[in-house]
Subunit: 402 residues, 2 copies
C-alpha cells in the first residue's frame, strides 16, 4: 500500500514538474479543452445541429486530430486535411458516378478503385520529400476516398453528405486555427530559434567544463551539490547530439507559419538545420574529449601543467565565441565583437601550437603519455576548425534575417 | 513542356527505386489495399450492414488509421484503440448519465467534463514514458469521450450506439491484425536486428576506408567509378549517426510483438538500443578521423610512412572484429574466433604504441606535424576503447537470446 502511494506521489511530482518547467505545455492543454468545448456548442444548439445535418461529429473529430501544440503543425495539418478531403471527395464522387453507370459491375469498379488508390496513396507515403509535408494528407485521402466511394453505395444523397461533411471540417479547422493563433500562440519558429540558441550556450558550458575538469587539480575537494551541477553542464553536449530530429521537424513546420515577431514568412529556416549540423560536429569533438578524460590516470601532472594554460585559454576563447553567437541570435543582428573574438581564438591556437613545439626540449621522459594530451589538443584544433563553419552559417542567417 | 516531362520521369524513377530497393514497402501497400477491400464488404452485404446499424464507417476508419507497416506498430495501435475506446466510452456514458440526472445543468456538466478530460489526456501526452507507448491511445480517448458524452446529448439509444461502434472497431482491428500477421508479416524486431547488423558492417567499411584513404599514396590514379564507391563506403558511419531515432522507436514497437523467428516474446530489445549507442560512439571517432583527413596537406610523407603500417594493422583488426560481430548477430550465437580477434587487436595497439615511442629518435624534424597523425592514433585508440563496450553488450544479448 505504502509503496503504491509513494510511487504515485513520485509520478505526480514528475508530472507536475513537466508543466512547471514549460508552462507552454499547460497552455496547450487548456487550449485543447477550450477548442473542444467551443466545437461542442454545435451539438447543444438546435439550429446549428440541424444546419449540418447531424454531421457535427466531424467537427469534433477534426479538432481532436488536427490540434497540435505549435502553430506550424496545426496549419499544416489543417491544410492537409482540407485539401485531401476536397480532392478525395470529388474523386470518390466521380468513381461512384462511373460505378453506377456500369450497372452490374458496380461493386467491382468501386472495390478495384479503392484498392488502387489506397495502394498509390500508401506508396506515396514512402517518398521522403512527400512524407515530410503531406503524410497526414495521404492518410486523410485514403480515409475520405474509401468513405465516399464505398459509403456512396448505401447513401442516396451523396453530394449533400459530402457538402455537409466538408462544411463541418471547415468549421473544425477554423476553430483550431483561430485558437492556436490568437490565444497565446506557440510558434514552431520561435521554439526552433530558442532551441538553437540554448544549444550554443550548452556547448560553451560543456566545453569550458570539460577542459577545466581535465586540468583541475585532484586534491581540491568540492561539495557534492556543486559537483552535480558541473556534471549537468558537462553533459550539455549530449542534448546537442540528440536534438537533430527536433530541429528538422521544427524547421519543416516553421515553413508553414505566417510572419510573427521578428521572423518573416520566408525566413530561411533551413539555415537553422545547417547550424544544428555544425553544432553537432562540435559536439562530436566534445564527446571524444570526454572519452579522453576517462584516460586521465595515464597523463602525468607535468604534461598537464605544460599544456594547461594554453588549452584553457583556447577553450575559453572558443566558448566565448559560442556565447557571443548565442547572444547574436538573441538580438538577431551581427555583433561587432565577433571579429575580435575570432582573432583572440586564432592567437590562442597559435600559442598552443608554440607550446606543443617546445615539448621535447623541456620534458623528455613522459613521451608516450603526451600524445594522449595531444589528442586533446587535436580535438580542440578540430573544434576550432569547425567553429568558423558555425560562424559562417550564422552570419549568413543574420544577414538574411534583416 | 520538355522540362516538365523530364522532371516527372526523374521523379518516377526515384519513386520506382524506393520500391525496388525495399520490396517490403510495396507489399505493405498491397496489404493496405487488401484490408480496405475486405472491410468494404460490410457495405456491400445487406445483412452485415444492417447488423452494425449503419456504423460500418467506423470499421473503414479503423483500418485506415491503424494499419502500419510493421506488426509491432499495428499491434500497439490496435490495443491502444480498443482499450481507449472502451475506457472513454464507459466514462462518457457515466458522465452522460450524471448530466441527465442533474436536470437543467446538463450542458454545463457535459461541457466541463469534456474540458477537464481533454485537458488531462492532452497533458498526459507530454509525459515521456507515457507518450512512448500510449500516445495514440490518448488521442482516441479524447475523441471517443467527447463524441460519446457530447453526442449523447442528441442520440437516444446511447448504449446501443456505443456497442455497435465498438463491434465495428473490433471488426476493423481484427482484419488489420490478421492481415499484418498472416500475409508476409514485417516484424519490427527483425528490421531492428538487421539495421544493427548492417550498421556494424558499415562501420567496419568506413573505418577501413578512412584509414586506407589517409595513408594512400597520392599518385596512384583510380577510375572515377571506383572512387565513388569508396566515397559511399566512407560515408557509411553517417548512417550510423542518424539511426538513433529509428532504433529507439523500433525497439519500442518490437516489445509488442509475439514470438517470431528466432526471437522470443521477451527478447531484450533494449540491448539493441545500447549497442546502437556504443556504435554511435565509434562513429563519433570516425567523424573526427575524417575531419583529420582534411588536414592531410600538413602531414609529411615520412611521418605517414612511419605510422602507416601499424595504423593499418590496427584498423583492419578493429574492422575484423566489427565484421565478426555482424556475423555473430546474423547467426545469433557466440563466435569462437572473437577472443582471438580481440587479442589480435590488442597486440596491434601495442605495436602502434611502440612505433609511437620510437618517433623522436628516428625523425627529428617533422615534430609539429606529427601530432596530427598522433591525433589519428588517439582516435584509433579511443575507438579501440569503445569496442570492448560493443563486444560486451552484444555478448550479453547473445547470451540472453538463447
Amino acid at each position: 500500500m505504502k509503496v503504491i502511494v509513494e510511487r504515485l506521489s513520485k509520478f505526480m511530482r514528475k508530472t507536475w514538474r513537466i508543466g512547471a518547467d514549460d508552462p507552454a505545455k499547460v497552455v496547450h492543454c487548456l487550449k485543447v479543452g477550450l477548442a473542444l468545448s467551443l466545437v461542442s456548442i454545435f451539438y447543444y444548439m438546435r439550429p446549428l445541429y440541424d444546419g449540418v445535418g447531424g454531421n457535427a461529429m466531424w467537427a469534433i473529430m477534426t479538432v481532436v486530430v488536427v490540434f497540435e501544440s505549435n502553430v506550424g503543425a496545426t496549419f499544416s495539418k489543417c491544410l492537409n486535411r482540407v485539401v485531401a478531403t476536397i480532392l478525395a471527395g470529388s474523386l470518390g464522387i466521380a468513381v461512384h458516378w462511373v460505378a453506377t453507370q456500369s450497372g452490374k459491375a458496380e461493386i467491382f469498379v468501386i472495390g478495384f478503385s479503392v484498392f488502387l488508390f489506397a495502394f498509390a496513396a500508401t506508396y506515396s507515403r514512402f517518398v521522403p520529400s512527400f512524407k515530410a509535408r503531406f503524410d497526414y494528407g495521404a492518410i486523410i485521402f485514403i480515409l475520405t476516398f474509401s468513405l465516399v466511394s464505398v459509403g456512396g453505395y448505401r447513401v442516396d444523397k451523396l453530394v449533400d453528405m459530402a457538402q455537409q461533411r466538408l462544411s463541418t471540417i471547415a468549421i473544425g479547422t477554423s476553430i483550431c486555427i483561430i485558437i492556436t493563433v490568437f490565444f497565446c500562440p506557440i510558434w514552431a519558429g520561435t521554439q526552433l530559434h530558442r532551441l538553437v540558441q540554448r544549444n550554443f550556450v550548452k556547448l560553451a558550458d560543456s566545453l569550458d567544463g570539460c577542459v577545466e575538469e581535465y586540468f583541475k587539480k585532484k586534491d581540491v575537494l568540492k561539495n557534492e551539490n556543486e559537483d552535480e551541477e558541473t556534471n549537468m553542464k558537462l553533459q550539455g553536449f549530449k542534448c546537442v547530439l540528440n536534438s537533430k530530429g527536433t530541429e528538422e521537424s521544427m524547421a519543416n513546420l516553421a515553413r508553414w507559419e505566417p510572419a510573427h515577431g521578428s521572423f518573416n514568412f520566408r525566413h530561411p529556416w533551413q539555415q537553422y538545420v545547417k547550424i544544428g549540423a555544425a553544432m553537432r560536429r562540435c559536439a562530436y569533438c566534445l564527446e571524444n574529449l570526454s572519452i579522453c578524460m576517462s584516460y586521465e590516470t595515464e597523463v602525468p601532472d607535468q604534461a598537464k601543467k605544460h599544456f594547461g594554460e594554453a588549452c584553457l585559454k583556447l577553450s575559453s576563447a572558443s566558448s566565448k565565441i559560442l556565447r557571443e553567437l548565442a547572444d547574436m541570435m538573441n538580438n538577431t543582428r551581427k555583433s561587432s565583437k565577433m571579429d575580435f573574438l575570432v582573432f583572440d581564438m586564432n592567437s590562442a591556437v597559435q600559442e598552443l601550437r608554440e607550446t606543443l613545439k617546445s615539448v621535447p626540449v623541456e620534458s623528455n621522459k613522459p613521451k608516450e603519455e603526451v600524445p594522449n594530451n595531444k589528442g586533446d589538443r587535436t580535438m580542440s584544433m578540430s573544434l576550432h576548425e569547425v567553429l568558423p563553419v558555425a560562424t559562417l552559417v550564422s552570419l549568413l542567417i543574420e544577414n538574411a534575417a534583416r
